[in-house]
């Protein structure tokens, strides 16, 4: 009892997470209230206690070991001294931010026959009111009491036996929880959902593959829309002024055999802008029409305001998996700029509307066709970061190609629906880089080369720092203005996650999942 009382006294009284708090997240930099730190997808921390002149003194202060050997992709949330992480497959743990000691654990048993292409992973939780929300591998959305981990409601989002799963961190917007689904390798019909945060009742659904009679259905030959995929497995952004939610959509199904789905295959490989209240589509932009290389547009959209050709515009930045960097008007969806930011051999360029002009002989074949970028793309699900201090966008870029094969595609519910495959390009060594871009022009400002193509996102801070992680186990810090390498720590496991920063009792921390552990760093 004394122990419990002690905890209660030392932990700050947790206030409710309101929509307004998330809107004004920059005014409480000690917390990390939503997946990207703010609604604009910036993954920027205004904290500057750790900066480019003292970062060399950064040391690990605690490590939390996950019990799973699956990839640990979580982005932690931090709310008033408590950290909330997801763990594979769909567990949630609340940790004391100073000591790393668990406060509660939610452990969800998983059926033996879940369908996942790429590991039973989870990228994080959402918070609203006094609840914590997690999507599950068996395609439920679960609300937990933030103080106890008790299940408050458990909503079935989709039937996992049909190939659906949830790996994405949900996004809390106003009074709703927005959640996407995975299953793009199983021929599911994709959608984006919103649920009433208090009750778990579904508020709206936007099908990312339109049905008969709906606009865009004619971009799918025959019945191919039924298995069109366009999954929604990476967290989007929200613009309160336009009341629009921006969300990327995944590959069309089957991945590499486009013969069975002639047409542009809307809304696969798109950025969609939907009304936050109704889920109605305001606009869409398709990066890779009729994709045959598995280049999901499931990257984090980054919202910034900047000048384009002398005029201040509300922009959304999108370094795409297909190796082109896009700048769109986020109110209208107008294409403003697109240019390669990594090696690509599939398109001559983009036309005036942003549509790619494909090069011949780049389609998957029975013998295999080498094409850049690789199937994993020049960018992937992990987060970019935008620093309002430097005014630059930072992306962990992958430089690699793949040999693409076409195969037969016969749909069976709940089974993989790929229609081909890929392998690495013989004789080629993949590599990576952190690249800093001027947002509106895509001009490269600097590059920090990485030994291998990364699988982890970036954090920028007001301390003129960029944090990231490598496949070889290092957490690292670069100088945000120059790209100079300032600090690193060997955590002993590959980075498959995104870093965050928070503060407790006036002390700034950096947190990042590495290998199967969550590492937290602070100045000595």
């Amino acid at each position: 009892m004394r122990l419990l009382l002690g905890i209660a006294l030392t932990l700050p009284l947790a206030a409710q997470v309101t929509h307004e708090r998330i809107l004004k997240s920059s005014t409480e930099p000690g917390n990390w209230l939503t997946y990207s730190g703010n609604y604009a997808g910036h993954r920027f921390s205004p904290l500057d206690q750790i900066h480019d002149r003292n970062v060399q003194n950064l040391k690990p202060v605690w490590v939390y070991q996950s019990g799973s050997l699956q990839k640990f992709e979580t982005t932690p949330l931090v709310i008033d001294g408590v950290m909330y992480i997801s763990e594979p497959p769909s567990h949630v743990t609340a940790l004391d931010t100073r000591t790393g000691r668990p406060l509660w654990k939610y452990r969800r048993p998983m059926p033996d026959d879940v369908r996942v292409c790429c590991g039973q992973v989870n990228r994080g939780v959402a918070a609203l009111g006094d609840l914590i929300y997690v999507g599950t591998i068996d395609a439920h959305l679960v609300a937990l009491n933030a103080k106890t981990g008790a299940v408050i409601w458990d909503a079935v989002v989709a039937n996992y036996k049909a190939g659906y799963s949830i790996t994405v961190a949900p996004l809390a917007v106003k009074d709703k929880i927005v959640v996407g689904i995975a299953g793009g390798e199983y021929g599911v019909r994709g959608f984006l959902d919103a649920y009433d945060a208090k009750t778990g009742k579904r508020a709206w659904r936007f099908w990312t593959v339109p049905g008969p009679g709906e606009p865009g259905n004619d971009t799918w030959a025959g019945d191919s829309w039924k298995t069109g995929s366009a999954a929604t497995w990476v967290t989007g952004a929200f613009d309160p002024d336009s009341n629009l939610i921006y969300w990327g959509t995944g590959n069309p199904g089957p991945d590499w055999n486009g013969d069975v789905r002639a047409g542009d295959n809307l809304y696969s490989d798109c950025l969609i802008a939907v009304d936050a209240d109704s889920g109605k589509l305001r606009w869409h932009f398709q990066f890779t029409p009729h994709d045959i290389h598995d280049w999901d547009a499931t990257e984090v959209p980054v919202l910034v305001d900047d000048e384009v050709r002398g005029k201040k515009r509300k922009l959304v930045l999108f370094p795409n998996r297909n190796a082109f960097y896009y700048v769109l008007d986020r109110i209208t969806g107008e294409f403003l700029l697109g240019k390669p930011y990594a090696k690509q051999t599939w398109a001559k360029g983009l036309d005036d509307s942003g549509r790619p002009v494909r090069l011949p002989n780049t389609a998957p074949t029975l013998q295999g066709t080498p094409v850049w970028p690789a199937v994993a793309g020049a960018n992937n699900w992990y987060s970019p970061t935008f620093s309002p201090r430097t005014g630059l966008l930072y992306v962990a870029v992958r430089e690699a190609g793949s040999v693409y094969f076409i195969g037969e595609a016969e749909y069976v519910e709940g089974e993989q629906f790929n229609g081909g495959g890929f392998r690495s390009v013989p004789g080629e060594q993949e590599w990576g880089a952190v690249r800093a871009f001027a947002p509106a022009t895509g001009e490269l400002k600097w590059e920090h080369r990485l030994f291998s193509a990364p699988w982890a996102g970036l954090l920028s801070t007001a301390g003129n720092l960029i944090f990231g992680g490598t496949n070889e186990g290092q957490v690292y810090a670069l100088q945000a203005s120059t790209g100079k390498s300032l600090w690193r720590f060997q955590a002993g496991g590959a980075a498959r996650s995104n870093p965050i920063s928070y503060s407790t009792d006036g002390k700034q921390f950096i947190a990042m999942a590495m290998g199967n552990g969550l590492y937290v760093f602070a100045l000595e």
């Binding site: 369908r115 790429c118 199937v375 195969g407 016969e410 993989q416 495959g421 890929f422 690495s424």
Partner: protein, 255 residues
């Protein structure tokens, strides 16, 4: 009560789907062809159309370490591998067996036996071939090349023979390449790269000493686009190449 019923139902399914035979009953050429069709639709996305790996493991090997028996292979395909990205597959038993048959065919295609004499191969490896100057086998040999103790578990005779002829093909898969480096204080080290990352490199020199450097301590370093392994094209005749390939493919480490 509903939960209990659900649990029993799940267990019932599992028990029903466990094969009652140890050996694959569906291995006719027709089964292999149907297995290939299923494989190309369901498995090639990760394992590659030829089974030689991509995101998934290389299946075109003579021995699959986690599926050495037919029943083990069935279980891996049907139920997946815990703590890996290999998922369960909701296929009928016949389909699982047919895919198994195709996967085994991938491995046997790779393990096509040569006309080699492994006894002669053993002598050649230790004598004329000089292989143990660089490679370890059965506890003896050099340290500059990769150990050959379990080479047969990973590589077919045909692959080994092709590497004896053309060792420099696909250097990207050969991490242990020669490296020369010079520190800022003037120290020079030549050897084999044994590890590298963005900020550091580890080297075994030709006297077998281990070195590790931060790259910012180096004035220069160069990982060569070549391998130290010589081509045996002009050193061994065709029969001798077959003999060595046959012998090395029999070294499969601890079984």
């Amino acid at each position: 009560m509903i939960w209990l019923a659900a649990l029993l139902f799940v267990q019932h399914i599992d028990l029903r789907e466990l094969p009652t035979v140890d050996k694959n009953p569906h291995t006719t050429p027709g089964d292999v062809a149907l297995g290939q069709k299923l494989y190309l639709g369901r498995c090639a996305g990760c394992h590659g159309p030829a089974g030689d790996g991509g995101k998934g493991t290389n299946l075109a090997v003579s021995v699959l370490p986690r599926a050495s028996t037919d029943l083990a292979l069935y279980r891996v395909i049907r139920f997946g591998l815990p703590d890996t990205e290999m998922p369960a597959h909701n296929l009928t038993p016949r389909e699982v067996w047919q895919i198994s048959a195709f996967v085994r065919a991938l491995g046997s295609a790779q393990s096509t036996t040569t006309s080699g004499d492994s006894h002669r191969g053993r002598e050649l490896v230790r004598g004329k071939g000089g292989c143990l100057q660089c490679h370890v086998l059965d506890g003896e040999g050099g340290l500059m090349g990769p150990p050959l103790t379990d080479i047969g578990a990973r590589r077919s005779p045909a692959f080994i023979r092709s590497k004896l002829l053309d060792p420099a093909s696909d250097l990207s898969s050969q991490f242990h390449r020669p490296v020369q480096l010079k520190t800022r204080s003037g120290q020079k080290v030549s050897g084999i790269r044994i590890n590298e990352d963005t900020w550091s490199i580890q080297v075994r020199d030709f006297s077998h000493n281990l070195h590790s450097f931060w790259k910012n301590e180096l004035a220069d370093f160069n990982v060569e686009e070549r391998t130290l392994m010589p081509s045996y094209r002009d050193r061994l005749n065709s029969q001798e190449l077959d003999d060595i390939a046959s012998y090395l493919a029999g070294n499969r480490g601890a079984q």
